[in-house]
Amino acid sequence: MAKLTLLFFLSFLIFSSSIAFQSDELLVDDDEFGLEGAKPRSTDLYTSSSSSPQQQQQTPTIRRRYSDPTDLDSKVQFTLEHAFGDSDFSPAGTFSARLKTWSHGGKTLTKLRFSRNDFSAEEKDTFKNLLKGDDFYRIRLPSNVVSPPGREFVIASVRARCLPRDGLDEHFIIHMEGANILAVSYGSPGACQYPRQLKLPAKWSFNSHTILKSSEQAPRTPIFTEEILGSENVEGEVEPPPERSFWAKYWMYLIPLGLVVMNAVTQASNMAEEPAGGQAGGAQVQPAARRR
């Protein structure tokens, strides 16, 4: 009987967690990455959730799905904890995800969901104090999702004044390596103005965005042989250089030309003013020439 209840409870949990949120997450089919023997490429999973009123206070656990015992995927949950300034850490939300185990032993986290607890009245006051003092709001995650907290907690902090907009906007980037969390970047989704202004949030609800990031593979160093270079050079037609505008081509000639023209014009206008003087000069020279 007890077993049945537990089973029922668990399945209810799974059910509730899968339909309780209206997530706009792009559900990527896991099989897309399931290349045999290949390490998974970099995957960025985006989830975003608005806080739900339900209070999920659970210690992180792993549960196998009973429906499909051969499936290597397992569900994991891990807790987000927060601290105000120097206070102790307390639970603030829960991440739940599927841990996919690959045939070669690698593990990846997919389908991350996040439920954020709202601030309690007491926490609101403490947060207001943080805002006044421009102090740090700190969060932490276990460094291993399978056996939390792993070696040590992964901590991130932000100046509390960076968070409030309309609501409390937060943005997580969780850097994963298998089932380990390397680091978490935490802050507001956009810019944080400096100097930071004291601003109380209009709504005391969290607007959370989460990105899971795994390592990006470096491209292989290309190897060119002489042959490739040679053949390409033979085959490759001379690509006409992109046609540049007339101005771009000849500006170095046009500007001096323009200057010369301008100079000439001003001179000409000057000349026009004293044509008589010029003629007189010429007349004076001529007798001298005639003299010899």
């Binding site: 120097d86 992964v154 901590i155 991130a156 850097h175 390596e177 680091a183 470096a218």
Partner: protein, 982 residues
């Protein structure tokens, strides 16, 4: 098309070569190279042929060298690898230098006159043990007297002629430690004395011809031994028992072991624990008790008696046979600023053969080691000379009461380098003294003119070369207009600070660090790092610049630190202080006080941060910035990087107001099973970036992400942290990160599968270049990562800029979500690398060159253009015009691009660059066992005329032109006049 591409490439390369290389006669004009050997460990004198007096030394920098005893010059020198420490050296057959290295596993013979390697033998080793080398002192070419080598648990007999292993004997038994290998002169029996479990003495007698054990005896000594051993004759050794209070004489005449115990309290009253000193004296023993050195005579029956006692600060040499079967040894002790050298007979300590007093520079510290050598004077009496090694690692030869020569070997172990300006030219100092007369000046220029017109005779060429080397007062001790003359401040491991002149590399001043408290525990702090403390340029102009030297008492990380402030112009210590806390990290802050002293934060092991200078002004300046001071720590062993922020003042009775607590802001935890930190790197804090923007070929703008708070981290799989080739490509991967050190955000993360360290990287402006090994391709690779800022990308419109609708002047905060993107590209590189640096210029306009310290101990200058991620296989015409090089898979190594040209900077460890005042030029200083300095102009000296520019030619041309103008004018006047009169 192909031809065009080829031609462009050729044209480009030829121009590139021109900008790299220098002509043969330009070598040595701006560069200098100094050769060192390091702190001497062993010295072997060679006096067989009187004409060639040399000394063979082996050093702590793993150098074996032959020095000229008359002048101290290096005849030849070999730098063994960093892991090939020399255990012993000797001379065999009168013509070979024998060295034992790598914990007794490598035995080499070098030809004495020229240093050629004659043979090399690898010896079998099985465990860590003492390495003992004994070279027979006879000249007969005879296999009966082989070199005996003990190392790694095996005793080997090696023929001196060809290095052949004649026999070997296994001593790898459990708990057995071989202490001494002795061979009486003329006897063919080798005694091997060892301790079994430190309590049983075992003596093996081995026939030196066959290697067979003739006899073996062992006796248990109930007290146990403490390991320090001194052999006083060929059949006796003296050792301390485990309580260090009883001297035990072990005699093994004919293989019978006998013990004789003598408590030290019988020898000296009121004695503590004793220590046997290393010098080998015949039938005598030097023991250090109660801070005094006592000499103990060992009688025939093993009876010990004190014959003399000396003050603690005495250094002694081994004893040396002099005439009439007598042995003598040298001792050196200090008295004020003088040292006293005494040579005494071992048998009769009252008989002083030589007593000399020599004035010694206080900045050399104490005498560490003495090596004595005797020679026959012109009057046929015995003369003595002593080679002494001082506390600052310098090597001096004393003879006839004078220092014949000295070598500053401390410079072979430079730990940190910075540069400093020279003083300004004062009114009183006349320049004319250095500059030559007008006639000489003209003569010089005429010579140069001849040279440039190819009219010079060979003598003239020599004269020109000499003129050039001496030219332009490059060795003056004042600041010059171009900033070419500077001081290079080098801190050595011995704790000595040297100021070298960039002109010729001479030592302007040197200063040995002193412990301010002179406490027993910290007699001499060793130098750790060097910082610019005060660089007056705006205010406080009449103050001399100064540097901060951070030292440490002892080697562990919690050892208390010592700060010393040194005036750069005079080389005098302004002040020094025992700071009373450990030094983990020194952080120069970008703020200075009114006297232009830079504020520094020093973190200790407890996690507190201390502010220096400890003045109220500094404190008030710091309090203003208190909120914005962040710092980070890298725990490489645990794989954790932590960010911290200031929290408040320290509490506790010892704390003062300059001590602050911190709190943790962020952590990056690398999974211990897959990643291990092998390299971290930040930008140089004083680097100048000329422009934030980079213009693309398509008139597009890219904004560099120029942040001072970026940290480059490279991690490798724990398996791949070992030697190259120890793992398969599947087992090892290399991951590199760019981490913002304020918020702990990872801005860039890239993993290289099948690659491993060691990683050598250089970080400048917005790019990192790193070098690693690709296991799959069996090649070294170089990858460049450039990071660009996208949040400023909209600021392209000119109108926006004019109307001020841009965010270029908005303050940047790390708390904004960074919008960055990176570009990266990899190339193969044919060489392994010891270090990488980048040129730095005054304004950062000049294009950069990477300075790669190659495995051959040379420095290769590689244009940054070669590691540009925008390189493509077929660059368009516009890209080519911009200077983008067609993509190749390998970076070129152009032989002319070696800035060290024909020199080698042996044991290269670091390259330091510093800008000169001339934008085009940068100072480059490389250090290792050798020192090398040169000036580089990565884009040629576009802002100045070269040294060999012929001013005379210019002058003559101008004069000729003026004359021609005048003459033609006169002529035309005349002609006009005659025309008019016609």
């Amino acid at each position: 098309m192909a031809i065009r591409v080829f031609l462009t490439l050729l044209l480009f390369l030829s121009s590139a070569i021109l900008s790299f290389s220098l002509y043969e006669d330009q070598a040595g004009l701006t560069d200098w190279h100094q050769r060192y050997i390091g702190k001497v460990k062993h010295a072997v004198f060679h006096t067989q042929k009187t004409g060639r007096k040399r000394v063979i030394v082996s050093t702590e920098e793993n150098v074996v060298a032959s020095l000229d005893l008359r002048h101290g010059e290096i005849f030849w020198r070999h730098v063994l690898g960093t892991k090939d420490a020399i255990d012993g050296a000797g001379i065999a057959l009168g013509k070979y230098v024998i060295t034992l290295s790598s914990e007794g596993s490598t035995l080499r013979a070098w030809n004495l006159p020229d240093g050629q390697m004659v043979w090399e033998t690898s010896l079998l080793t099985a465990q860590h043990s003492k390495s003992l080398l004994s070279v027979p002192i006879n000249l007969k070419v005879d296999k009966d007297y082989p070199i005996t080598v003990f190392g790694g648990g095996y005793l080997h007999a090696v023929s001196a002629i060809d290095g052949e292993v004649l026999w070997k004997k296994d001593f790898t038994a459990e708990g057995f430690e071989v202490q001494r290998v002795l061979q009486a002169p003329g006897s063919s029996i080798i005694y091997v004395l060892g301790f079994l479990h430190s309590s049983e003495a075992v003596v093996y007698q081995i026939d030196s011809k066959s290697g067979e054990v003739v006899a073996q005896k062992s006796t248990v000594f109930p007290g146990g031994f403490s390991g320090e051993i001194s052999s006083v004759s060929s059949d006796k050794v003296v050792v301390l028992d485990s309580t260090r209070s009883i001297l035990v004489t072990i005699g093994f005449i004919d293989g019978d072991i006998s013990f004789q115990k003598t408590p030290i309290s019988d020898l000296v009253e009121d004695s503590g624990t004793a220590e046997i000193l290393s010098p080998l004296l015949s039938n005598m023993l030097a023991v250090k008790v109660n801070k005094r050195t006592i000499f103990v005579n060992v009688g025939d029956k093993g009876k010990l008696e004190v014959v003399d006692s000396l003050s603690d600060e005495t250094a002694m040499s081994d004893s040396l046979p002099v005439a009439d079967d007598q042995e003598a040894f040298a001792s050196v002790h200090h008295e004020g600023s003088k040292i006293h050298l005494m040579v005494k007979l071992v048998n009769d300590l009252n008989n002083v053969l030589l007593r000399e007093t020599i004035q010694m520079d206080q900045n050399r510290g104490r005498v560490h080691k003495v090596f004595m050598n005797n020679y026959i004077r012109t009057d046929r009496s015995n003369g003595f000379r002593a080679l002494i090694v001082m506390e600052d690692h310098s090597l001096l030869l004393l003879q006839q009461g004078a220092i014949v020569w000295s070598r500053e070997e401390g410079l072979a172990s430079v730990t940190d380098v910075t540069t400093a300006e020279l003083p300004l030219e004062k009114d009183g100092v006349s320049v004319a003294k250095v500059e030559h007369t007008l006639f000489e000046w003209l003569k010089g220029h005429v010579l140069k003119l001849k040279g440039s017109l190819l009219l010079a005779s060979p003598e003239d060429v020599v004269a020109i070369q000499e003129l050039r080397v001496k030219s332009s007062g490059k060795n003056k001790l004042t600041r010059d207009h171009n900033g070419f003359r500077k001081l290079i401040l080098a801190l050595t491991r011995a704790g000595k600070l040297f100021a070298l002149h960039t002109g010729d590399g001479r030592i302007v001043w040197s200063m040995l660090l002193n412990s301010p408290s002179q406490s027993q525990s910290c007699e001499r702090p060793n130098g750790v790092s060097l910082y610019q403390w005060q660089v007056p340029h705006h205010h406080a102009m009449d103050e001399n610049p100064s540097v901060l030297v951070v030292g440490k008492c002892g080697s562990d990380s919690s050892a208390p630190g010592v700060l010393s402030f040194v005036d750069v112009y005079t080389g005098k210590e302004i002040s020094s202080s025992d700071i009373g806390h450990s030094v983990v990290q020194v952080m120069p802050l970008p703020i200075t006080d009114s006297k232009e002293q830079r504020l520094h934060l020093i973190a200790d092991t407890v996690g507190h941060v201390h502010l220096y200078p400890k003045t109220s002004e500094a404190l008030s300046i710091f309090q203003r910035e208190f909120q914005n001071v962040y710092w980070y720590t890298v725990e490489a062993d645990d794989g954790i990087i932590r960010g911290h922020v200031m929290k408040g003042s320290c509490s506790g009775e010892t704390a003062d107001e300059y001590c602050f607590t911190t709190r943790e802001l962020w952590t990056v935890v690398f999974p211990s099973e897959s990643e291990k930190i092998i390299s971290t790197l930040t930008r140089k804090p004083n680097e100048v970036v000329h422009t934030q923007a980079k213009v693309n070929t398509d008139q597009d703008l890219l904004y560099k992400y120029v942040s001072r708070n970026l940290l480059f981290v490279a991690t490798v799989s724990p398996k791949g942290a070992g030697e190259i080739g120890s793992v398969t490509p599947e087992e090892s991967s290399l991951v590199v990160y760019l981490i913002d050190t304020i918020t702990g955000r990872i801005l860039h993360r890239l993993s290289h599968q099948g690659c491993q360290g060691p990683v050598h990287a250089v970080f400048s402006e917005n790019w990192v270049v790193y070098h690693y090994f690709n296991i799959r391709a069996h090649k070294y690779e170089v990858t460049v990562v450039e990071i660009y800022d996208q949040s400023r990308a909209e600021n392209k419109n000119v109108w926006k800029l004019i109307l001020g609708k841009h965010n270029l002047t908005a303050p940047i905060t790390s708390y904004s979500r960074p919008e960055v993107f990176t570009k990266s590209q990899s190339y193969f590189f044919a060489q392994s690398v010891k270090t990488i640096a980048v040129t730095s210029t005054a304004k950062g306009i000049t294009s950069k060159q990477l300075l790669i310290g190659t495995i051959g101990d040379q420095i290769l200058a590689l244009d940054k253009r070669f590691v540009d991620p925008r390189r493509t296989l077929n660059p368009s015409q516009a890209e080519k015009e911009e200077g983008i090089i067609p993509l190749t898979d390998t970076l070129p190594i152009i032989p002319q691009a070696y800035v060290t040209h024909s020199h080698k900077v042996e044991g290269l460890r670091g390259i330091v660059t510093a800008p000169s005042k001339l934008e085009s030029t940068t100072h480059v200083f490389a250090y290792g066992v050798d020192l090398f300095y040169t000036r580089l102009a990565p884009s040629k000296t576009y802002d100045s005329l070269t040294d060999d520019f012929s001013y005379a030619l210019l002058l003559i041309t101008i004069v000729a032109l003026v004359a021609a103008i005048y003459i033609t004018w006169v002529l035309s006047e005349k002609k006009e006049l005659s025309e008019k009169w016609r």
